[in-house]
């Protein structure tokens, strides 16, 4: 089984906004590589970045690109695929790959804000966010734990958004994310599992076109707790969540021992796995396909995807970065945007 997110997406003329992300990281160069290798296969992108630094960076990594500065998003379609359209955002300090300069933190946030505004107004169809270095932004007015929460606030989302990671053979949704494992166990709550499952099922149905999504709910403990012998959270927290999810009319099973959910036969039996902690979701996803997994935020008014990796400061500016996850993030954003347009047209 594979999910080909691009196959049914017609090419559209709307652009997809790409945020700067941490400029000392690999965000700029993976966008350049994506243009150089796949411009003809991808919908128009519009980078919200500094056009001069993009052109210089492309030369440094040996992947020359045509950069064209545009003054509004609507011009991107005319420029792509001959050049990368860039909506200029000025960087106060010069960028040195691999070395973070806090002076540029405001520009990182400004790029994200601009992308959100363009998506909210409908001038871009979706946003692909490049990785950020959170610790730098925390000192510059970015007062949310990560992109997902920041986007939720900025777009006034109705309820907490949900992070789904999707690879060619597996979709996973971690209920707890960036917290220590001990805290994740303590923080696990029935209502959060139910919320994640409902948002996921809703998104799989309306956004991904899966008529009756099947969710597998992972257990927390080994062997799903073996009836309490190896932990009580299955009966006290997760099973009640599964009951509520089913009561909401969703096809859900579990809690199931996590190590039984990810082999080929198991993967055919569900459309997504609701996971209790970060590594439970990420280990199978990355083991199956390290490069092609994508992060998508469910439950936002706008479409947002991102590559499923960090800023990779250690290899920034060397040309060794792999653009695969970024390209998949663009394809998924285009697929979701096309579907939203179709349903809007049908309505």
């Amino acid at each position: 089984m594979t999910f080909d997110n691009a196959s049914s997406a017609p090419m559209r003329h709307f652009p997809i906004a790409v945020t700067m992300g941490e400029p000392a990281g690999i965000g700029g160069e993976i966008a350049c590589m994506a243009w150089a290798r796949y411009a003809n296969e991808l919908p128009p992108l519009i980078l919200i970045d500094d056009p001069d630094r993009i052109a210089q960076l492309a030369n440094v990594i040996g992947c020359p690109v045509n950069v064209e500065s545009v003054s509004n998003a609507a011009d991107a379609g005319a420029v792509w695929p001959d050049a990368i359209p860039v909506l200029p955002t000025s960087l106060p300090a010069p960028v040195e790959p691999g070395r973070i300069n806090p002076a540029n933190a405001q520009a990182v946030i400004a790029s994200l804000d601009r992308a959100i505004a363009l998506a909210t107004s409908g001038d871009v169809a979706a946003v692909v966010t490049n990785p950020i270095q959170k610790s730098v932004l925390y000192g510059a007015g970015f007062d949310e734990p990560g992109h997902t929460e920041y986007l939720a606030k900025a777009t006034k989302a109705d309820s907490a958004p949900v992070m789904m990671l999707t690879g060619p053979e597996l979709r996973v949704v971690p209920v707890t994310i960036h917290t220590s494992l001990a805290d994740a166990v303590q923080a696990l709550r029935t209502e959060d599992i139910v919320h994640c499952a409902i948002v996921t099922a809703d998104a799989l149905r309306t956004e991904f076109g899966i008529a009756r999504p099947r969710l597998a709910i992972a257990a927390l403990n080994p062997h799903a707790g073996e009836d309490g012998a190896l932990g009580g959270e299955e009966s006290s927290i997760i099973a009640p969540a599964v009951a509520q999810i089913r009561a909401a009319g969703i096809d859900a099973s579990g809690p199931a021992a996590a190590d039984t959910l990810f082999h080929p036969e198991a993967r055919r039996s569900h459309d997504a796995v609701i996971c209790m902690y970060h590594d439970q979701a990420l280990i199978p996803l990355k083991t199956l396909d390290f490069h092609r997994s994508v992060n998508v935020t469910l439950g936002l008014p706008i479409i947002r995807t991102s590559p499923d990796h960090g800023t990779a400061l250690d290899i920034a500016g060397t040309g060794r970065a792999d653009p695969t996850s970024f390209v998949e993030a663009v394809k998924l954003a285009a697929f979701l945007a096309a579907r939203r347009q179709q349903s809007a047209a049908a309505a």
């Binding site: 220590s180 494992l181 001990a182 805290d183 303590q186 970060h278 990420l282 280990i283 083991t287």
Partner: protein
């Protein structure tokens, strides 16, 4: 009394595990399998009536002859524990009796190894609930093995062996929140050493050992948890000082995806079992490392839902038998 060693094949005791599970079936289909018989001399440890009942269910002929069982032209030595039979154990049912029998078989098999009658033990799966129902304190075969071989339970670890991963688990059958608390520098160090010794015994020269972090992103410098800094990091440093070829703690998702190590050390059960079973759900073998005797089992369970139906897949047990006989010196 068992016949003494009379040939070159490796003598492996096969306790049948939970008599109500798939154990009797997969033991029969392993002990009398031609490819397995080539490398091991099986010694089945179980109950005669249970095995005869199972053979009937499978539609194969099984005959007792002296201290042996004969089937499909092959012979296996047999130790009859005389604990249960089809009258009081039903396939698929959890019961104290089945739990007590499981432990009796494993105990008899381990004692055979302790006394030098067999070279290794390969146990079919148990059912945790049945053993608990019998009131026997037990947290997996490794703990029983430690007790019967007078080894400290802190030195015995489970190693999963599959393609492409070999994984030693620093903690195993405990609730996740307890696993976190059990991690100490001593325990993680012992697990790394056990991984090194097992791989060396398998013929690896300076095996490359990858150690998982506990937390997301291996804690990201303390942002998501301190165990990498306080516990796992110091263990890795200590093992490196001893000259072991060890790296970590690294984010578990990145480490397994990288496939760059000969053996991995996982901090908790699912961290090690998930990657192994993504690739090979029914083919992983489990070897207890850190004990004086060679002891194997399989990574799958007793599969009560299909017990006694002739539908069990014996591949993992067969592969474990061959692995024990051919890869450990």
């Amino acid at each position: 009394m068992l016949p003494t060693r009379r040939e070159n094949r490796v003598r492996v005791a096969l306790p049948i595990g939970d008599p109500a599970g798939i154990g009797p079936e997969i033991v029969l289909r392993t002990a009398f399998e031609a490819s397995v018989q080539q490398v091991i001399a099986p010694v089945i440890v179980g109950d005669l009536e249970i095995l005869i009942d199972q053979a009937q269910r499978l539609g194969i002929g099984l005959e007792q002859k002296g201290d042996t069982l004969q089937c499909s032209g092959h012979s296996a030595d047999f130790v009859d524990c005389g604990v249960v039979g089809p009258d009081n154990v039903t396939p698929g049912a959890v019961s104290a009796l089945a739990g007590r029998a499981t432990i009796a078989y494993a105990t008899a098999a381990i004692n055979l190894a302790n006394e030098g009658h067999v070279d290794a033990v390969l146990a079919a799966p148990h059912t945790e609930r049945s053993v608990q129902a019998a009131g026997i304190p037990f947290s997996g075969y490794p703990s029983l093995l430690a007790k019967l071989t007078q080894t400290s339970p802190d030195d015995v670890f489970l190693m999963l062996v599959s393609e492409p991963y070999k994984v030693v688990n620093a903690t195993l059958h405990v609730a996740l929140q307890d696993a976190v608390k059990l991690l100490t520098t001593e325990r993680v160090t012992a697990a790394i050493e056990a991984a090194h010794n097992a791989l060396t015994r398998m013929g690896f020269d300076a095996p490359r050992i990858g150690v998982c972090g506990l937390n997301p992103h291996a804690g990201e410098d303390g942002l998501f948890g301190q165990e990498e800094i306080d516990v796992i990091g110091p263990s890795v440093a200590r093992c490196r000082q001893q000259g072991l070829n060890v790296e970590g703690p690294r984010p578990a998702d990145v480490l397994f995806a990288g496939r760059a190590h000969d053996v991995y050390v996982a901090m908790y059960h699912d961290q090690g079992h998930i990657p192994v079973k993504v690739a090979a759900p029914r083919r992983a073998s489990a070897i207890s490392v850190g004990t004086p005797i060679l002891f194997g089992s399989v990574a799958h369970g007793s599969a009560l839902d299909i017990a006694g139906q002739g539908r069990a897949d014996p591949t993992a047990l067969q592969q474990a038998a061959v692995l024990l006989a051919t890869q450990f010196k």
